[in-house]
Symmetry: C2
DNA sequence: CGAAGTTCGTGATATTTTTCACTATCACCA
DNA sequence: TGGTGATAGTGAAAAATATCACGAACTTCG
């Protein structure tokens, strides 16, 4: 969760490189929503989509939409809007949905297997190449889901090896909280660069490893807080 | 207009009411993390915990911690820190972990059942009282998880009735995206006040209904974006 | 081709959130 | 009991983010 923004305020001279761009965090978090709306628009045959329309469908201010998209792609057409297909591709690029990233998942509990079976990951550019668990009873069991025929749960002590061997960059943690830090350590040691953590703990990792905590308690707390008012 | 804190102790009336406080959104989202650390501290027998220590464990600036906690509880003790047990209770109060909220869950897929089996909800003040699905093959099947003995999946056309009858306030949506809006409509019509949405769509609801979108694509996109840099 | 109507991109402004810096408060100890 | 050290609370400054507002670019149509 380190958002170090360089003070370098270089205006987009060459916008061709999708890599070097730095997006404000809130903008980055809105992009997936834009992506879905644009994808829907493309599907339903709309050639262009305007910021106001995008904003209306997502309840976001249209100026906000324009500013977000201008970070990503300064190619809207006045009078018409954004060319839907091109914008879609651009968003895929920025969000990394194009190049497939291999991932490992540790923790073959209900949540882990649910994620593992989720077909959507493919379209988001994630492929879970292996699932691990520490429980001997689970090891060797088949994985659920469409594309997982024949694949099985592996013992967690093979985790480090496999990560190293396949140069896996992304690890998904769905183990109970008291095991999470240990798994994270193994991952880090084996060279993983990003961790998607579903365990309700705050992991400690080196600063060059990105962690995204998917904390369900936050959602619950938010809602509960509103309800008790 | 400067040093007048002695006279103007509390910002408004006495702070006994946990209801009327309004927290900045980012603060509210950090509270669950504080809650966990404080809970751990209490468990391990620490009587007091300092903002610096909290911050260290969560990688949050200590001034930030103090400001957050001051919104919630202006009762830290200089020289010592916050009394762990009391702070814990205060956080439980604010986060609504004390009063149990009944909830319904719609969508008995893998994710829905995983949530349904998750024991942690109880301690967060949530109780899932019924699980619905539209799939006839699933209806009548048993629910997984410890406390769910004997309970079964109900047909979704009973959703409205049950919500109305039990005056349910919170709905959890774990259906495929194209069914989500319909479920949300039913919930809203039946009087639900908050929706926890796991479907990757932006729901349209009246302004008095709170929606929390738990969008996995955001997490993925964030990580992918960092990886492709 | 010109006028009317949209919509983008963005400087300027407002708002929100974080961080700094300092004082008052309290514990602890000799 | 007074001195020392640690820490909370909080104005004020800084940084980040969102919104406003307007000119310029483009389309459409007569």
């Amino acid at each position: 969760m380190s958002t170090r923004q360089a003070a370098d305020k270089s205006k987009s001279v060459e916008d061709a490189s999708p890599e070097s761009i730095t997006l404000p965090r809130p903008t980055l978090e809105r992009l997936p929503a834009y992506y879905r709306v644009v994808a829907a628009a493309v599907k339903s045959g709309e050639a262009y989509i305007a910021s106001s329309e995008l904003g209306r469908r997502l309840q976001i201010d249209d100026a906000q939409v324009r500013r977000d998209l201008s970070c990503v792609w300064g190619k809207g057409r006045p009078g018409l809007g954004y060319k839907a297909v091109d914008l879609l591709h651009r968003l895929e690029d920025v969000l990394g949905f194009n190049n497939v990233t291999d991932a490992v998942l540790v923790g073959a509990g209900r949540l882990g297997l649910a994620l593992c079976a989720y077909p959507g990951f493919r379209s988001y550019g994630i492929q879970i190449v292996a699932v691990f668990d520490a429980d001997k009873n689970k090891i060797g069991k088949k994985l659920p889901g469409e594309g997982n025929a024949g694949r099985v749960i592996l013992p967690v002590d093979k985790l480090g090896d496999l990560v190293r061997r396949l140069r896996i960059q992304l690890g998904i943690i769905t183990v109970p909280e008291h095991e999470a830090q240990g798994v994270a350590n193994t991952m880090v040691e084996a060279g993983i660069r990003a961790i998607w953590n579903f365990a309700p703990v705050s992991l400690t990792v080196p600063s060059d490893v990105v962690v995204r905590n998917e904390d369900l308690a936050i959602g619950l707390a938010t809602l509960q807080h509103y309800l008790t008012k």
